[in-house]
Amino acid sequence: MKPEAHETPPVLRVENAGKVFRDFWRRPRIRAVQDLSFEVRPGEVFGLLGPNGSGKSTTLKMIVGLLRPTEGRLHVLGAPPTDVSRKARIGYLPEDSYLYPYLTCEETLDFFGSLFRLPRAERRARTAQLLDMIGLRHARRRPVGEFSKGMARRIGLAQALINDPDLIILDEPTSGLDPLGCRQVKDLILTLARRGKAVLLSSHLLADIEDVCDRIAILFNGRLQAIGSIRDLLEERDRPRVTLPAVTPEQLRAILAALKAQLGREPELDYPRRNLERFFLETVARAMNQDTEPSGAAPSEGVAPYLDGPPHA
């Protein structure tokens, strides 16, 4: 998040929000969210973390107006979540994609584009760019109902971006995606944030959150357990780590000896290694160069140009 983002007004403000689900006789049945407060500002990637049933999806549904809070208030782009006009600036990917199975990829994106009153030419251009971005151009005439979960997820993500939204709400965006797709989604989220978009995402995949989020909130049983920036929450300031350039064994022994003399005890020695994600991506990239006919999702051709414009002022 850019430093100046703290001065800009929040795109989303949740104030002491709560949600109680009631039964047919209006008796309280489940208290899904309690006294939840947080803000998301432009250019910020905010993550909602928590185990299953912790209230993440309920919170997102209250923000997009699918559920009404029973306590507290929500302001989305300066208006209540039910304000229809504000929805033109929101992109939402639900936990399941909920697409019309009889529509093709192109028709799906065209349909959702029409709901934002985009002109026909603009819809076509954005649809083509999004299909390139999610690697499904070759499957653009296939009905969505024939897709695997991961491919449907990609289309779901594309529909959430068809309107170039200012606030992007993603519920488990990498669910069902392969590691390549996960990386592409994470890169996309970072690109969107650089353009000044506010991104709110929920996930129980900690690595995804850690990779992209500026700030996080952890929920359990509908209650906020922790909130703050990734750095503030995770950094162990009393255990600094020093990364050395390439050194000879003799130089290393000398450095360790000096450190031991200074600290009064043996320092820990560790060798960094590539993470599994990077290794996987490199391996798949090599394989892709040898095979040109994808049956599922093809390699992404980068972020859709209309989403990758200059950063917002």
């Binding site: 107006g65 699918l66 929805k87 399941d96 009889y102 009153r117």
Partner: protein, 454 residues
């Protein structure tokens, strides 16, 4: 409008690709082509036209009606239950636009299917009447009696209320009113008796129907008198009589020797009558036997003047049916917006039943509702009776405007379906009531939580 059209296109695509529309298309064509082959008529051309238009097109309309109602319910309710509407609801789309798009899609689909059903029926009708298969004489009768648009003339009403009241007072004065008969029931009995007297023709007597404003009458086409009577002699006896049609100083007389209890059609030429003035149709009982002829006060005589050809009338009839389908789709979508399946289907079916019963409901509201046991004890109190009267009055007033002329019945009897009626039905069924239903559905949808289970 772009958003509405997007929803409409989505609805049409859903119907096409889920194979609902192709299935309906095939079913309609099969019914229209197959039913006349399986039903044996009375061997006459008019019987075949009855089968083609009334039964075949009627069955096609029944299929389309059920499909419109069901598809309307399902188009919202099932999408809500499968959570697809959740995603749509997060877009800048007002519930009214969603409703309108769904309705527009279904109305377009129904319009196409009804046009197909109507066109295939018309083509079969044309094929059946082609030369030289059809007997020219019967064909001529068919063209004069059925494949035509005729306007029923409205006779001057017979008011017997004052006379019935006088008889009631007289009976009361003479103490002849039985104690167990209420004054209302006695009045109704006197009224019916007087009406029957007014429409009976004694031997050597005559009975006239007066049409003060018959409207323009085409002298090139005859006036049709459609009549049926019973007589004081039981059985299907022949009765000699004469019909006299009079306008101004001129009249035309046609003698008949018609069988009682059987429907008859008589064509009276109009070319010798003046173009203006009130019209009188008179029946003279000229039978040599002492037979009294009794006409039904309601439909003993129908006087029909030609108002156009069959083709445009058929088209207007289809438009009436289309209006009904538009309302059914609206009803279904609204029920689907409020309830989950199959509750939505049952609720919309119940509302449809109420609309069908609107005429009966209206008659029930004339006086407070009474429920009496077989011992004669009142089962509900006077307050409850008034309450039910008002409930029925309210239901009747909501549903009464939705009463539709029997389009198929008229087409098979050569009766005009007027532009005024067509316009009224299209206005109420295709605009006013759908807007009211859309407003109700949008109001409810704005207040409901879309993410809750359907």
């Amino acid at each position: 409008m772009r958003k509405v059209w997007a929803i409409a296109k989505l609805t049409l695509r859903g119907a096409m690709r889920s194979r609902v529309a192709p299935l309906l298309f095939g079913l309609l064509v099969a019914v229209i082509v197959g039913l006349p082959l399986t039903i044996r008529g009375d061997g006459t051309l008019s019987g075949e036209v009855q089968i083609l238009v009334r039964y075949t097109l009627g069955l096609a309309m029944l299929i389309l009606s059920l499909a419109a109602l069901w598809a309307g319910c399902a188009s919202v309710s099932l999408e809500w239950q499968s959570k697809k509407l959740q995603l749509v609801a997060t877009k800048p789309l007002h519930p009214f636009e969603l409703w309108l798009g769904k309705w527009l899609g279904l109305v377009l689909l129904n319009a196409v299917l009804l046009a197909v059903a109507g066109s295939v029926t018309a083509a079969l009708l044309r094929w059946r009447l082609r030369e030289p298969l059809a007997d020219p004489a019967r064909r001529g009768e068919l063209l004069a009696d059925i494949l035509v648009a005729r306007r029923p003339l409205a006779p001057e009403p017979v008011d017997v209320d004052a006379a019935a009241l006088a008889r009631l007072e007289q009976a009361r004065g003479l103490g002849r009113l039985p104690p167990d008969v209420s004054p209302g029931a006695a009045f109704e009995a006197f009224r019916q008796a007087l009406r029957t007297e007014a429409f009976s023709v004694a031997p050597g007597g005559a009975r006239s129907w007066r049409y003060p404003q018959p409207g323009p009458l085409d002298p090139g086409h005859p006036l049709s008198l459609r009549f049926r009577f019973s007589c004081s002699t039981p059985g299907p006896v022949r009765v000699a009589g004469a019909w006299v049609v009079r306008r101004g100083d001129a009249d035309v007389r046609v003698d008949t020797n018609a069988v009682a209890t059987t429907p008859h059609v008589l064509h009276v030429p109009l070319r010798d009558l003046p173009q203006e003035g009130a019209l009188t149709v008179e029946y003279r009982n000229t039978d040599s036997e002492a037979v009294t002829v009794l006409f039904s006060p309601d439909d003993g005589l129908e006087t029909l003047a030609r108002a156009g050809s069959f083709g445009p009338n058929y088209a207007r009839g289809l438009l009436l049916l289309f209006g009904q389908l538009a309302l059914l789709a609206a009803l279904g979508i609204t029920a689907g917006s409020l309830f989950s399946m199959p509750v939505a289907a049952f609720v919309s079916g119940f509302v449809l039943l109420m609309i069908q019963m609107a005429g009966d409901l209206a008659s029930l509201t004339a006086r407070p509702i009474t429920l009496v046991s077989h011992h004669g004890d009142a089962l509900i109190g006077p307050r409850a009776a008034v309450f039910f009267q008002w409930v029925f009055r309210l239901l009747g007033s909501v549903a009464s405007p939705l009463q539709v002329p029997d389009a198929l019945g008229r087409l098979t009897t050569g009766i005009l379906v007027s532009w005024a009626e067509t316009g009224r039905v299209l206005l109420t069924h295709g605009l006013i009531y759908p807007i009211l239903l859309a407003g109700l559905a949008a109001w409810i949808m704005r207040r409901r939580e879309m993410a809750l289970a359907g």
